[in-house]
Symmetry: C2
Subunit: 146 residues, 2 copies
């Protein structure tokens, strides 16, 4: 029986670059697994082998208990590119609830983060959002007011 | 400032087929938005237009507050296929915490759901998992004991 959401997993080409990005966003590293090579992982993911490095990142103020399972595959190496558009089939993006979106956008612009739009967009009553891309191109939606 | 994770968004080619799948998993529809066509969405996602149908799904027993933002794009239509392998760069999968994994696997096998391995795999102390694919090929990891 399903109890709850546990994590979302991002495959990155460069673990430390991604850690820096998510720390800039305001998430915090909660665990590091330097070299994971359990054979069950290869079987579970239907891969020929499995050697990976993993970092967990959570929202320090969050109550959801959710975390990002950030994975750099050592063997087999990562392949392909992130979905290039928001209407691409698949697990396309995730959203973070934020306060003071304008201040956060200012911080992220100073840090050189890429955005899909110049300014936050408004929806419904008091909801505003903007989408950033992580270093591998993953869409991260920042939502205020929901 | 980041407060917490809010949702993860899946682009599907067939909204009702995906709703049935996630209901079989044990999630519950919490909101339906029949025809969303706010111009701000196109701008936020850097798309030429935006007309979409949306369903929210949550874990009825969950405390995370997280939900799936399930999206069928009407205009522009969805493109491409889900990541074909677990080591593909990008937002690759998400995980649900479950109890009685064997019973759930039995139910899902009867419902014709596809798995990446024949049986759940074990990790660490008392952690077991199996990965299923949703109707669009999204990897959903079911984890017991974490």
């Amino acid at each position: 029986m399903v109890q709850d959401f546990l994590h979302l997993s991002i495959t990155t080409r460069d673990l430390e670059r991604s850690v820096r990005f998510y720390e800039t966003l305001g998430l915090q590293v909660t665990q590091r697994f330097g070299d994971v090579a359990e054979p069950g992982i290869a079987t579970a993911f239907r891969l020929p082998s499995s050697h990976l490095k993993v970092v967990y990142l959570a929202a320090p103020q969050g109550r959801s208990g959710l975390f990002i399972d950030l994975v750099e595959w050592v063997e087999p190496t990562a392949q392909g590119q992130s979905y290039p558009v928001a209407n691409h089939v698949g697990l396309n993006r995730f959203a973070l609830r934020v306060s003071d979106l304008d201040a956060l956008v200012g911080t992220l612009k100073e840090a050189g983060v890429s955005f899909l739009s110049d300014e936050p967009q408004s929806f419904g009553v008091g909801i505003r959002c903007i989408v950033v891309t992580d270093p591998d191109g993953v869409f991260v939606q920042l939502i205020e007011g929901l």
